[in-house]
Symmetry: C2
Subunit: 378 residues, 2 copies
């Protein structure tokens, strides 16, 4: 363990979180002291209240607000909202956290305002998260952590964490984990980084990640590799975003050539998802670009006989994207790529490159792609 300067940003945000919670609670209290019924204003979390701003690069929550007033019928959810905010405040003060499931169980000692089902606590947590997001605070800063950990990381990166007991800095050298890797924690807010890498390579499958790691691709390519394992979890997205922001690194995505890879995995990483617009500003990675596999790669790298026919679901997903996905519609390159895929009638997995030998991907495909990063899909 080595000493480093304290992570000021992290505790600044903690102060901001407590201030936000106290100001809302203070208003509720003042209204009651005035003999009136209190209310809390919360952003509307529905697709109607979502906009896509190409400049900002992510789906964003609009200005619509709903008001949770204290009435006979809302007494329970009103109290639950306040208690959940108090829980969050207490966790910030004690440097602790809770998963969504734990939050649900904590309420079992709240008497009449206990949650009967987790879906109730999740909805109220989403409300509080949406409210906090308007102040630039994420769910992780409220100390509500996702259940799923992040993907694996290896390469030219030192992660600087801290010992929660002593505050001492802990440095993790991701170039020195052998065939293993660094597993991203559920919250990355407190992490800082040191790196000589030139880019981050975000990889769809675990198998491909293991191949690039075992052959130390990151050493020759001067990069950091991250395993997404399908659609990346919150923790993975936030980690890549923070890493890219703080170190000013481009992010290249290496994903299957199919509508799911384009519109679910890559699109979610880059701009976020429509039904969670209040969190996209923290989780999306606007710096991301799509390295491949592209429909043109199938031709350029002779993968025709290692493809699979598009399924009916694939075709529907692609057509929906062309018609309704604001991100796709905003980029003519993506429209052309998806149309090319539909015209070819096939999809290709990143493992299909193994047709030319297990390490063709390392020796040929990636080097050839990486000489022309400007040609990556947006």
């Amino acid at each position: 363990m080595k000493k480093s300067s304290p992570e000021t940003t992290h505790s600044d945000l903690d102060t901001k979180t407590i201030t936000l919670i106290e100001s809302i609670a203070g208003e509720v209290r003042a209204t009651i002291d005035d003999g009136k019924l209190p209310d809390i204003k919360l952003p509307v979390r529905s697709l109607d209240n979502v906009t896509y701003d190409e400049g900002k690069g992510y789906f964003e929550l609009g200005d619509a607000r709903k008001t949770r007033s204290l009435t006979v019928s809302t007494a329970r959810s009103f109290a639950q909202t306040l208690r959940l905010m108090a829980t969050s405040r207490s966790m910030v003060e004690h440097d602790d956290f809770a998963t969504k499931r734990e939050v649900y169980y904590i309420s079992k000692n709240w008497g009449d305002c206990r949650f009967d089902e987790q879906v109730e606590s999740d909805a109220i947590m989403d409300d509080i998260e949406a409210m906090a997001s308007m102040q630039g605070l994420s769910r992780e800063q409220l100390r509500f952590y996702p259940e799923s950990h992040g993907g694996s990381v290896a390469g030219l990166l030192t992660v600087i964490d801290r010992n929660p007991a002593t505050g001492e800095a802990i440095e993790i050298d991701c170039a020195n984990l052998g065939s293993g890797a660094y597993s991203i924690p559920r919250s990355a807010e407190h992490l800082t980084f040191r790196t000589d890498a030139q880019f981050v390579l975000a990889i769809e499958t675990g198998g491909m990640f293991q191949r690039l790691n075992n052959h130390r691709f990151w050493e020759t390519a001067r990069c950091i590799i991250v395993e997404m394992g399908g659609v990346p979890t919150r923790a993975t997205r936030r980690f890549i975003r923070l890493l890219s922001d703080k170190q000013n690194l481009p992010v290249y995505c290496f994903v299957d050539c199919d509508p799911y890879g384009f519109t679910n995995i890559y699109r979610t990483l880059k701009v976020g998802s429509g039904n969670a617009a209040h969190i996209n500003r923290f989780l999306c990675v606007p710096q991301a670009r799509f390295l491949g596999v592209t429909p043109q790669d199938i031709v350029d790298f002779g993968l025709e006989d290692a493809t699979h026919k598009l399924t009916a679901t694939d075709i529907k997903r692609a057509q929906d994207a062309l018609r309704n996905d604001p991100f796709i519609i905003a980029h003519s390159e993506w429209i052309a790529a998806i149309k090319q895929m539909l015209q070819m009638g096939v999809r290709a997995e990143q493992q299909a490159l193994a047709k030319w030998g297990l390490n063709y991907v390392i020796d040929d495909y990636l080097p050839r792609k990486l000489v022309n990063t400007k040609g990556f899909l947006p």
Copy 2:
């Protein structure tokens, strides 16, 4: 990176793998040279050919064999079996590996004996794996790696890996990864360990793992914590098994109190699964014992109001286990526990302990359980 002695066990097994492949191929060749039609004998991989030996502690493949003879109708699968064995040999020689999906794609250049679907290559790989298992060789030693990585690890453990390019030893200190963790690679065969820990704690959920890791439970409890993330993957099972074998460490499992936790997660970790009997000898962890959550814990720790009613699926699974699961039937303690759960009519998650406060699990539950490890379910 520090130097260490070369991993002799690993290369001994490589020699054994190549010898096995050469001897089978040699027999086929000799038979053909004699002007006869060759055949290959493979273990039967069906439930009929599975036995449970309590002494050994795992489901095991029986003696039944099937013969794959070269005929007009088997020419393709016979050739595929030989080519897949040749692929395995080549990977051992080049210190490489392939996922099941990659193996399928490699065949795209095999002309008429290419695999049309992955289900074909998987079946032949299972045959070869079963054959190798009779010689004490696992699928990983054949260099066929699973797609899924293992769970996360933290605590009093140094993993000793090697740089595949230089052979230099790489040491990973799992007590020094902050809020992150060590992600278990797809193959653990080449790893060695150094530890002062007194036991391994295998944890069902990621959320609980993060809690114990962030609060450095492993430091006070002198242990290694492993996140299973539901039913543990091959990589996680093999890692725990090797760690426990090589360091002579007991393994305690901390799992939800429900039939899925008992008979799927715990039972799979401890004795393996019935439909993959040829691999259980490598993957099962006979040292494992069940710390909790037990039905009696619900009473002892006052969790009654944080339980959920057993579903119809839960009840069916529990009743099936009592009737048909050779592992459960062999242990009266498990029969009693499952009957108690059925009688109580409820299940409890490990997160339910949060009812008494987020860190009740660290401050009360685990310490109280760990004073009586002899009382753990077998």
